[in-house]
Each structure stands twice: as structure tokens, then as C-alpha cells.
Amino acid sequence: MSHRAPKPRKLWTVAEFASAEALLAAVRAVRERGHQDVDTYSPYPLHHGSEALGLKKSRVPMIAGFGALAGVTIAYGFMYYINAVDFPINVGNRLPHPPPMFVPITFELGVLLSALSIFFGLMFLSRLPQPYHPVFDHEAFRTASTHGFWISVAGAPASSDTERLETDLKALGGTNVATMREETP
């Protein structure tokens, strides 16, 4: 697949490890050797995986908070404008602006926009949907979602010494080591 008029961008070296522990040890070792673009792949979240990759705190909670705030503001503001300012409806002589009556919808819309922003925030932060990724070129990589533990190290073709990297990964216990060339979409 990778021979179809490739326009090389990055090289991705992948290797499979026998256990989550071995994978994380390899991640730490590879990062210590100066590789920046390292990632892990596993069928379930790894304990201490984010720390080993040196990831910053997730931005999802902040996005969720803004979503909730937007929902609450829009809901209350809208109800106030429609029922109290734009077209007050008198039903049973109740107030045009009764705060307790506006609580349910305010809450619901806060939850709705918060949930939507969590979902789309997750998609945005994970760069999903992304049906194609260079690591998928490696047929053995299919175990990453079922039972395998994989590492990937990416680098620009000019600067990376993939042969040495492959030897290093094998020395760390990696199997199925391979290097893929990224195609332009």
C-alpha cells in the first residue's frame, strides 16, 4: 500500500511489546534517548501511560466547562428574552419572568451543550475521525485494539536513523518492528 506514489513526510517506526509494563519501560527509554514524537497503542488505557508519554493535563474538562456555561447562559437568556421581553404571555397570571420555572430548561441545556462539547472536544483533541494513519500500514498492528501493546516513534526522514531505532526497539524487547512511510492524504 505504501508504494503508491508516496510523497514521504514522516517515518513511523512501530514495535510490539509483550506487556504494558515492558511497553512503558520502552517508552521511557526511547524518550530518554531524545525521541519526542512517541506514542503508545493499547486495547485499554494504560496505568501511568499518560505520565510515561509526558502528556499535559487533558483539556477536555475545560472544554466541558465552557460548554456548560454556554448552555446555561443561552438557555436562561433566551427564555428571559422570549417570555419576558419579546412577547410576554400571561398564563394564569403568572410572572413573565419566574426564575424557578426557568431552572429545568437551563439545567438541561447546560448538560446538553456540555456533553456535545465533550464529544466534539474529544474528537478535536484526538484528531478523529482519521480513517487513515501510517501505523495501520503494518498488518500486525491490528492487534493494538484487541490484545497487543505497541509503541510508535515518528521522525522526519532526513533526521532519523531508523535502522538504529529499530535495533534499539528490538533490544528493549520489541517484536514485529517495522518502519512505515507516511503518505500524503
Binding site: E16, A18, S19, A20, D39, T40, Y41, S42, P43, Y44, P45, H47, H48, G49, S50, A52, L53, S58, R59, V60, P61, A64, M79, I82, N83, D86, F87, I89, V91, R94, M101, P104, I105, F107, E108, L109, V111, L112, A115, I118, G121, L122, M123, S126, L128, P129, Q130, P131, Y132, H133, F136, A140, R142, T143, A144, S145, H147, G148, F149, T175
Partner: protein, 475 residues
């Protein structure tokens, strides 16, 4: 089934305590006796046993259930067409019983849906590990039950093509919805609930869809599941955001589920009809919802785990725990009944007293009333006994009776209150028509159709979470 390269990949069995829950819980020793996962498994064997039912050809059992369900969906469609053709007069609704089967079924279906959210969200927040094998399925149940529920108020408006009037849009009439009306609250509550339940379910499904993609036997299936999984790679960066996103969705769903049934109870409690405006309504409705929902999960889980070969992950302990929840919520429901009657007596309001002591207990529907008490108050008491809690036959029959009982409860609340209110001159009898029954049976068929399709094409168990739990329990 997956193109496995080398047996070394099995060795995640001896991975150290390197994994933790989506809630990042440290691995805990399970103190209770019965196991959550029976037997020794590796991620690979779990992957195979839990996804196998998707690749297997549908057996005669599946078709035997699917075809009647599909016929039920056809009945639903027929009834809806008839309803739109002739108008709501084809229902048994009359003056004064303006709400009947439509709202009964609406509340019943919504209530059933709530257990799914409770299992997936609240038990996740409490780090109850026993939720893991049943959450996916309970979430699917929620989604399909809410779809059935949403159908009723939509059609009950009489002219569903004007339902968009309930939404705030810049209308040429210059008038917006009356946001002080609980029926408008319902629109927002139900649509939010449907959306959030879907997102929660789908986010949970993504890693399992990727596992399906990577173990698909054919290229076509690989493409379909590949598209559905959005290209999920299980990357450390994905999981980093995913864990917190899933937890936050659970955190949002928890108050949401309480708010939705509270708002459903406001449909009644903000009115002046006798029997509808006790202050106990919101918690009593929420408890009733959880009660009937858990009963429905048991009703569905018992046959599903047998036919899909999932007994090793949906164990007797899961079922027993659900029966305990049924007992607890059943007691709250019984307390709700007691309080309603007490308040009617203690409040001294003659309309309330007439309703509870003459109309409900001795009126035209007293048989439904006593059936309700039998199913909802007497039957759950069986679950005080371990033998009943662990007997498949008992719990299955009990779970069905409880759902019958909860349906009767909504019938009693709605119909008896409306048919005899303040003025005896405006009282009237009520009887449902075949269209009422047809729509009810039809939604049951529609629900089963969706559920069977789900069991056929998607993993019935949260595979990724079970693998993680399996790993945790080993340490």
C-alpha cells in the same frame, strides 16, 4: 480470528498491575465471593469470546425473536398511520381522560431507560466494578427505550407536523413557546437525555468498534467497522483525553437522569388534579424508574447472556446485585405509595381521600390497583432471600411482573386521577381501544427489533472495559 503474528502477544496475561479503570482506580482486591469474570482469560480470548457473536451467522433463535419483533414494528407503523389518518379519536382518550395510554407508555418507557444510565454512569462514578459487563447493553436499552418513549408525546399532540412549535425558533407569529409549561420542559429534558445517552453509548463503543475492525474476517466488514470506529488507534494520546471525557459524560448523566424523571413527574405534580400533586412525586418517580429499569435489564440479560454465550462475564453475581437494587428501589416505591395515602388521609382533602380510598382502591380499576400493589410491593420482597436472588427462573418471572406492576402504576396514576376529579358531573369511564394496545405492543416490538439488531451487529459487552477489569482482577 485476528491475524495474530506470534504467541508472544498473549503475554499481557502476566503484565504487572499496570492498568487501572477509566476512573483510574487502583486495582482492588475483590472481597465478595462470587466472581465477576468466571475462568481464566487473556485479552485475546476475551476478545474472541465477546466479539464472536457479531461474526457468527444469526441462528434460528435470533430469527425466531426478530421476525415477531419486526411484525410488532409493522403493527406500530400501521397504528401510527391510522392515527395520523383519522386523528387521536382512534385512541380511547376522552373527556376527562385526556391522557391515557400515550402518557402511561411514555412514562413507562422513559423509566425503563433510566436503569441504563444508572448502571453506566452512577455505578462508574462509585467505581462499582460489577457494572462493567452489563453497562453496554443497559445503555443500548436506554437509548431504544427513550426512542419509544419520545414517540408518544410527539404523537399525542394530535398534529405532529406542528411539533416544531415547541421549539424556540424565530416564528413569523412573533410568539415563542411558554417556558413556564412543564410540557416544554419535557421537550428539552427528553431530547437532551436522548442525545447524551447516545453520546455516552457511542463514546464507550469506539474502542470496541476498533477491536471489531481489527478482527473482522472480511474486507467489507473491516471498512464498515473502520468507519464507525472513526479511525481509533488506542493511542496513548487518545486514551488520555478519552478517560476523562468518559468520566465527565458519566458525571453529567448522573444528575441528568434524576432531572429527567423529576421533570416527567412535574408534568403531573404542577397540576391540581387529585393524586398528582404530592411533594413526594419527584423522588418517588425516580425510584420507580430505576426499579422498573433494573427489572428490564434482568429480563433482557437473562436470555441474552445464555444465547450470546456471555455467562463468563455476566455472572450470577451481576444478576444478584441487580436484584438487590430492585429490592432497595422497590422499598422506596412502596414508601411512595404509603406516603401518598398517608398525605391524602392526613391532609383531610376530600378529593384526595375520595381518589385514594374510594376510587383507586374500590373504583372501576381496583383490580389494576391491587395488581400494582402485588407486583411492586409484594414481589420484590422475595429478593430478601438469597435463593430467590440467585434463582434464574424466579428473578426472570419477578422482573417481568415488576414491569407489569410499574405499567399498572402509571395507569392508576393517570387514568383514575383524571376520570373522577372534582365534579361528579364530569366523571366518565375509560377503556382503551385496539389502537392503544396495538401501539403499546408495537413499541415493544420496535424496542425488541432495535435491541436484537444491536445484539447482532455490535458488541453486547464493553470489551475494552472487560479486558481492563480482567487485568485488574488478576493483581
Amino acid at each position: 480470528m485476528s491475524p495474530v503474528h506470534d504467541p508472544a502477544s498473549d503475554s499481557d496475561t502476566h503484565a504487572a498491575a499496570a492498568v487501572a479503570g477509566a476512573a483510574t482506580a487502583p486495582a482492588q482486591v475483590d472481597l465478595e465471593g462470587a466472581p465477576l469474570i468466571i475462568g481464566e482469560h487473556t485479552s485475546e480470548s476475551l476478545n474472541k469470546s465477546l466479539l464472536d457473536h457479531v461474526w457468527r451467522k444469526a441462528g434460528p433463535g435470533w430469527w425466531a425473536l426478530f421476525l415477531p419483533s419486526l411484525a410488532g414494528s409493522g403493527l406500530l407503523l400501521t397504528c401510527i398511520v391510522l392515527l395520523e389518518w383519522r386523528g387521536v379519536g382512534v385512541w380511547g382518550n376522552n373527556q376527562p381522560v385526556g391522557w391515557a395510554f400515550d402518557i402511561i407508555n411514555f412514562v413507562w418507557w422513559i423509566g425503563i431507560g433510566h436503569a441504563g444510565t444508572l448502571i453506566s454512569a452512577i455505578l462508574l462514578l462509585f467505581q462499582q466494578k460489577w457494572r462493567t459487563s452489563i453497562n453496554r447493553f443497559a445503555e443500548a436499552m436506554t437509548l431504544f427505550a427513550v426512542l419509544c418513549a419520545a414517540l408518544y408525546p410527539t404523537l399525542h399532540t394530535g398534529r405532529p407536523w406542528f411539533d416544531y412549535w415547541l421549539l424556540p425558533y424565530p416564528s413569523t407569529l412573533g410568539v415563542g413557546p411558554n417556558f413556564k409549561s412543564p410540557l416544554v420542559w419535557d421537550v428539552f429534558a427528553i431530547s437532551t437525555y436522548l442525545t447524551v445517552s447516545f453520546l455516552f453509548w457511542y463514546v464507550g463503543l469506539i474502542p470496541d468498534l476498533a477491536a471489531l475492525r481489527d478482527s473482522s474476517p472480511t474486507r467489507r466488514k473491516r471498512i464498515v467497522y473502520g468507519l464507525l470506529s472513526l479511525g481509533w488507534r488506542g493511542s496513548g494520546r487518545h486514551w488520555h483525553n478519552y478517560k476523562i471525557a468518559y468520566l465527565l459524560l458519566a458525571g453529567l448523566s448522573t444528575p441528568l437522569v434524576v432531572s429527567v424523571h423529576t421533570i416527567v413527574s412535574f408534568d403531573f405534580a404542577t397540576g391540581v388534579i387529585p393524586g398528582w400533586h404530592t411533594t413526594v412525586f419527584p423522588p418517588y418517580f425516580v425510584a420507580g424508574a430505576v426499579f422498573s429499569g433494573f427489572a428490564m435489564v434482568v429480563t433482557l440479560a437473562v436470555p441474552a447472556r445464555k444465547f450470546l454465550g456471555l455467562r463468563h462475564v455476566i455472572t450470577d453475581r451481576h444478576l444478584e446485585n441487580m436484584n438487590k437494587v430492585i429490592l432497595a428501589t422497590g422499598l422506596i416505591v412502596a414508601y411512595g405509595y404509603l406516603m401518598e395515602h398517608f398525605v391524602a388521609w392526613y391532609g383531610g382533602n376530600e378529593y384526595e381521600q375520595h381518589l385514594f380510598f374510594s376510587n383507586r382502591a374500590a373504583g372501576p380499576f381496583h383490580r389494576v390497583y391491587f395488581l400494582m400493589l402485588f407486583c411492586n410491593v409484594v414481589i420484590p420482597q422475595l429478593f430478601w432471600f438469597k435463593r430467590a436472588r440467585t434463582s434464574i427462573a424466579w428473578m426472570w418471572i419477578a422482573s417481568i411482573l415488576i414491569n407489569v406492576g410499574m405499567w399498572c402504576e402509571r395507569f392508576i396514576i393517570i387514568v383514575t386521577s383524571l376520570q373522577q376529579d372534582f365534579l361528579p358531573s364530569s366523571w366518565d369511564a375509560y377503556s382503551p381501544t385496539w389502537v392503544d394496545w396495538g401501539m403499546y405492543i408495537g413499541t415493544l416490538g420496535f424496542f425488541c427489533t432495535l435491541f436484537l439488531l444491536f445484539l447482532k451487529f455490535l458488541p453486547a459487552v464493553a470489551v475494552s472495559e472487560v479486558k481492563e477489569l480482567n487485568q485488574e482482577l488478576k493483581h
